[in-house]
């Protein structure tokens, strides 16, 4: 059976992560901020690795934007 994307919380301290994420953008222009997010997506995708899961993440991210 193909792997399934996790949707339960998998980050021990979610608020600390969110703060660190916002902080990492501090002082950046809007363009650079977008670029940071794009880099982050690539880095995180490489952590995941599994194409089946990545496909599900891509679909979930796209969901509702059409």
């Amino acid at each position: 059976m193909a792997e399934r994307m996790r949707t339960d919380l998998n980050i021990a301290d979610a608020d600390a992560f969110y703060e660190a994420l916002i902080r990492s953008h501090e002082g950046l222009s809007d363009d650079d901020s977008n670029l940071l997010n794009a880099r982050l997506v690539l880095l995180l995708a490489n952590q995941v690795g599994d194409m089946a899961i990545l496909q599900q993440c891509l679909a979930a991210a796209r969901d509702g934007l059409d």
Binding site: T7, L9, D15, A60, G64
Partner: protein, 557 residues
């Protein structure tokens, strides 16, 4: 409901004005929730205090509204929690909406059999009224001086001298210790030239107390991001006592504050939020919020507590609650230092523990405000992403931050803790967990009333097999440790707490033979895996900031 009739308290003419030269043990500057709680807690430990109150009445507007379970447990020792719970609005579920859609709800009370709910909402003036009433039942140990305003302070090695202004004139007031509980604009802090550093959040919040005829039909905390009924970025609605409601709107930074406060401007949006027309406001105010604290909570003979020491944004209800927890932390320490049974260093631990708590509250509430006020395009986009994903995916719901509601700080790493590596629900530095008992009372009813430590010994075998003589030795120490044998019907003259269905042991997460040493403020000092007299004494010394007793002095005991 008619609007609250603020009581008027006449100015007190103190004996010092007529030439009496007194040295008080403790003078508390400020008779808000924190100053009054401190006076009551000190009285429970047998310490007399004078409370200076500049005002002639109680807090204006509802202000501190949500009283947490831990705060109610503290106030219960003064007989104030039950009246609050009876009059207030009880809740434990928070609902978060994006626009009109509920995206998430949280339940704050997963523990079983609690005598108090996660939160009771009651206007600050009612809470203060009950606290003032309780000061009159404190056996004459509390002298509350209305319309006595501290205007200056000087200290020397033995105490501090305040200058106090009254309608009858000025007088000097001398005390061994002064505790500044005079709120965010603390006169004492300013008079001592102390900084109050932190962050100001650039946002205005319209806050109103609303009277509604009849039932609104909501029983939860409700929070909206981008509400459909209002242009505000967020809105919040709470029930409060006497069928009143409290509403908050996040207005933004560049607004005309005076205009926003006008009823003709505020009322329509309040009506839209509540979905009713028959509403009346009794208090409307606009606030900006900040997070900051004094660097040191102790300056020799002067200590700072409550808003005078730290300020947070109110989303999370951490201001008043943590202030009352400052008071419980300080009272027993002051009492033991005043009567000479603990060294002065014990008061330093007040700073260690409560500055740590303030930092936690500042960190948590700052994150909330950062989530609520999407100041930059990036923050706005991130929040939009979280709220969007939250509709389908659990993990994103956990990221939605509309306020992380007050829980008591576990003073990890406090110099008073002796850590033996056991970390259950009763962990060193945190309050003892509570539970309703089979007999209808509750666990905390049995703890933390006098000026002594307590030990919860988890019964292991028959009384003959237990170290009862050692418990009696501890009970006879200069600072007594009163052992309660949990799970025994009788313990040969020691206190026993039967635990027929094992719920106390389960609540404490403690195995037979373990010994939980509790401070007078019901906080865990140590959890011993098995009882040992030397270990228990070492933990007691440490919790009193006493140097460890030399091994010699112990021999022959």
């Amino acid at each position: 409901m008619p609007a609250y009739a603020y009581p008027h308290y006449d100015a007190v003419r103190p004996p010092e004005l007529d030439g009496e030269n007194l040295l008080h043990d403790v003078v508390i500057v400020g008779g808000g929730p924190v100053g009054l709680s401190l006076a009551l807690d000190l009285a429970q430990r047998g310490v007399r205090s004078v409370v200076l109150q500049s005002s002639n009445t109680l807090s204006e507007g509802s202000r501190a509204l949500c009283w947490s379970k831990r705060t109610l447990e503290i106030l219960d020792r003064f007989g104030v929690a039950r009246p609050i719970a009876e009059r207030g609005f009880t809740w434990s579920t928070g609902r978060v909406y994006a626009g009109d859609r509920e995206v998430y709800h949280f339940d704050l009370q997963p523990e079983r059999d609690q005598p108090f709910p996660a939160f009771v909402n009651l206007q600050q003036y009612f809470a203060e009224e009950y606290l003032v009433d309780a000061t009159r039942r404190a056996g004459g140990l509390i002298e509350l001086r209305w319309q006595n305003k501290a205007t200056g302070i000087a200290q020397d090695g033995d105490g501090a001298t305040l200058t106090v202004e009254t309608p009858h004139g000025y007088y000097p007031l001398r005390a061994r210790y002064v505790v500044a509980c005079d709120g965010a604009k603390s006169t004492i802090r300013r008079a001592m030239g102390l900084g109050f550093e932190g962050r100001v959040f650039e946002d205005n919040f319209l806050i109103a107390d609303v009277d509604v005829a009849g039932d609104v039909g909501a029983k939860d905390r409700r929070f909206w991001f981008n509400p459909s009924f209002d242009p505000s970025e967020t809105a919040l609605c709470h029930g409060q006592g006497d069928g009143m409601w409290r509403v908050d709107f996040q207005l933004g930074w560049d607004v005309d504050v005076a205009a926003e406060m006008r009823p003709e401007r505020a009322l329509p949006r309040i009506k839209a939020l509540l979905g009713r027309d028959d509403v009346e406001t009794t208090w409307i105010s606009v606030y900006t919020f900040q997070c900051r604290r004094v660097e040191h909570f102790r300056h020799d003979r002067v200590l700072f507590a409550g808003d005078a020491a730290h300020q947070v944004s109110p989303f999370g209800a951490r201001g008043g609650n943590s202030g009352i927890q400052d008071a419980e932390n300080l009272a027993w320490k002051l009492a033991l230092v005043l009567d000479g049974r603990a060294p002065d260093a014990l008061l330093d631990s007040y700073h260690d523990e409560r500055a740590y708590a303030a930092d936690e509250n500042i960190r948590v509430t700052s994150r909330t405000v950062d989530f609520m006020t999407a100041k930059t395009p990036l923050r706005a986009r991130m929040r939009q992403a979280v709220l969007g994903l939250a509709e389908k995916h659990d993990f994103a719901r956990a990221l939605i931050n509309s306020g992380r509601l007050s829980t008591p700080t576990v003073h990890d790493g406090s110099p008073l803790n002796s850590d033996h590596g056991l970390a259950g629900p009763a962990a060193p530095g945190g309050p003892c967990p509570n539970r309703r008992l089979a007999d209808g009372g509750c666990l905390l009813d049995h703890l933390g009333r006098g000026l002594r430590f307590e030990g919860l010994y988890m019964a292991d075998g028959a009384p003959g097999a237990m170290p009862l003589p050692a418990f009696k030795t501890l009970r006879a120490a200069d600072v007594p440790v009163d052992t309660i044998v949990v799970g025994a019907g009788d313990a040969e003259g020691l206190r026993a707490l039967p635990d027929p269905d094992g719920r106390v042991a389960a609540t404490l997460g403690a195995a037979p033979g373990q010994y939980i040493l509790l401070r007078p403020d019901q906080h865990v000092a140590s959890v011993l895996p098995t009882f040992d007299l030397a270990d228990a004494r070492a933990a007691l010394d440490r919790a009193l900031a006493r140097p460890p007793a030399p091994a010699m002095a112990r021999a022959g005991e």
